[in-house]
């Protein structure tokens, strides 16, 4: 309902909305143009072809887009904690997380999802994959689990804002940064970084591990074979951790008293 209110409020400035939706699409599109430009200069990146990189790009882009559409507003919460306007939300008879997520709900963020899906479809057309039922099933599972992992990271980051209101940018390095990281093949990064992404912040489960399976490539060294199917499990664990952090955050919340 809150989201609906924000959609109505956005529609008040119709021309501005059209422009934001279009540019939101373009901004992410230009992001992909960079990869196109790179492949204009080289044939492969880290041993991956263009279509394979496009698959990585499309899967993480879609997952991140869905998470950003639903949870992207959480970034602004730091400001609400700081100026005390979060109190208004606490008075209303609705879950706080839902309210904060719907706060300033921006439909224009749909542009990002659309762009991710577009690249994904393009990649699937170009790719020469020996499809099996498992691989076909794995694709939507990967997209959804990825979206949940990103969303959980956003909630986790927002929970931290209860204590340090100014730290919103740290979350960005895991969400936006993770999204950028996952657009490229794991082979180009230092192995310590890849390990960090598998075991510390489980971003690799967003797309790297399942996508490598779809492409028929081996998982990075030291990662067990079954890990390629573990994304839903990892997503569930991430949700649990984020939920606990969010509760702890609310409990520690002290209004500014103004």
């Amino acid at each position: 309902m809150v989201a609906g209110m924000w959609i109505r409020s956005t529609m008040t400035y119709r021309s501005s909305f059209a422009l934001t939706l279009a540019t939101s699409f373009c901004v992410t599109f230009f992001d992909f143009v960079v990869i196109l430009l790179m492949f204009g200069q080289v044939k492969g990146l880290g041993g991956f072809s263009f279509a394979e990189v496009a698959l990585l790009y499309g899967t993480t882009g879609t997952s991140f887009g869905i998470a950003d559409l639903t949870m992207g507003s959480l970034q602004r919460m730091g400001k609400r904690v700081r100026d005390g306007s979060l109190d208004t939300f606490l008075m209303r008879p609705a879950p706080l997380l839902a309210q904060v997520a719907a706060d300033k709900f921006a439909l224009r963020r749909f542009g990002r999802v659309a762009q991710g899906l577009l690249v994904l479809v393009w990649a699937l057309v170009l790719l020469d994959v020996a499809w099996t039922p498992v691989k076909v099933l794995l694709l939507p599972v990967m997209l959804l689990s990825g979206a949940v992992i990103f969303a959980a990271l956003m909630v986790l980051g927002a929970s931290v804002l209860f204590w340090v209101q100014d730290a919103a940018e740290v979350t960005n390095s895991f969400t936006y940064g993770g999204n950028t990281l996952l657009q490229y093949p794991p082979t180009i990064f230092a192995q310590e970084l890849v390990r960090g992404v598998v075991y510390v912040v489980p971003l690799a489960f967003v797309n790297w591990l399942p996508a490598l399976y779809v492409l028929g490539r081996p998982a990075p060294e030291g990662v067990p074979d079954w890990a390629v199917f573990a994304s839903p499990l990892v997503a569930a664990v991430c949700c649990g951790v984020a939920g606990l952090a969010w509760r702890a955050g609310i409990r520690s919340y002290r209004s500014t008293g103004s």
């Binding site: 021309s15 540019t23 940064g177 180009i188 970084l193």
Partner: protein, 267 residues
């Protein structure tokens, strides 16, 4: 003059109070620096000397970009949101009654902000990058100085662009659409994602003459010593200076038109 110096100092101090935000920003810039560095390494491994840069040049370019994101407002000027909000709510009327010029006032405040961001968010990521990766360092203090001049000019062009964007809010009320377009320009045409001299053909030529080139590409090339001799360096400064003048002028014209409009509304 004294007034504007005070405003600039205020801008510096104001941002210096957000220490946690600075640390968070440094962390983010460093993380992105790492990710970009590895992609550039993969790219330059396949194509050495791409865009006339060596691998060391390309890596230096990555970290210069991370250092200048907030200084030169590559992804947002850092002040326009506040200014747009003041225009939207009508608080701007109070600002217009002050015995100071609106544009110069905000420019001074933003100059202070840029100076703080250079120290607060520019130095550390660059130092971390230099420790982890081998990248090109300027040949001497002269190059550093030339680089700082280019950065100052870049920050000025950035201010002029974002000020113009904010002025559009007088007509559009909600400035978000225009902000996004400017954001797109900053992100793509400043060369933050990929150096502009790697862009092919006509797209590259276009990108290199647009104002956004002054914000990262030109300072980075000054740093890397790509402008041989004083004449070429002067040419680069002239490019930045011209854009600064044109955009400042446009911002001033928009301000004048908007002020007339505000008076009409208030009457």
């Amino acid at each position: 003059m004294r007034l504007y110096a005070t405003v600039a100092a205020g801008g510096f101090r104001r941002h210096a109070t957000y220490r946690v935000a600075t640390v968070a920003g440094v962390f983010t810039n460093t993380v992105f620096g790492f990710i970009l560095s590895y992609t550039y390494i993969a790219l330059w491994d396949e194509r050495p000397q791409l865009g006339g840069y060596s691998m060391d040049d390309a890596l230096a370019y990555v970290w210069i970009g991370q250092a200048l994101i907030t200084v030169c407002g590559l992804m947002g000027g850092g002040f326009e949101e506040e200014l747009i909000e003041r225009i939207r709510t009508g608080d701007i009327a109070v600002d217009l009654y002050r015995p100071a010029d609106l544009q110069t006032w905000w420019f001074s405040a933003n100059l202070g902000r840029s100076a703080y961001q250079l120290l607060g968010r520019g130095v550390v990521p660059m130092a971390v990058g230099a420790l982890v990766f081998d990248f090109t360092l300027p040949q001497g203090p002269g190059t550093w100085l030339a680089f700082l001049v280019a950065v100052a000019l870049g920050a000025t062009v950035s201010f002029a662009i974002w000020y113009l964007v904010a002025m559009s809010a007088f007509w559009l009320l909600d400035g978000q659409g225009v902000v996004q377009v400017a954001w797109l320009g900053g992100l793509f045409f400043s060369g933050m994602l990929l150096p502009l001299n790697v862009f092919p053909g006509a797209l590259g030529e276009l990108a290199r003459v647009l104002p956004w080139a002054s914000m990262l590409q030109v300072p980075a090339d000054v740093y890397l010593g790509k402008y041989a001799g004083g004449r070429e360096l002067a040419g680069a400064y002239a490019f930045q200076g011209c854009w600064a003048l044109v955009l400042f002028g446009a911002g001033r014209a928009a301000q004048a038109a908007a002020t007339r409009k505000v008076v009409v509304q208030g009457g």
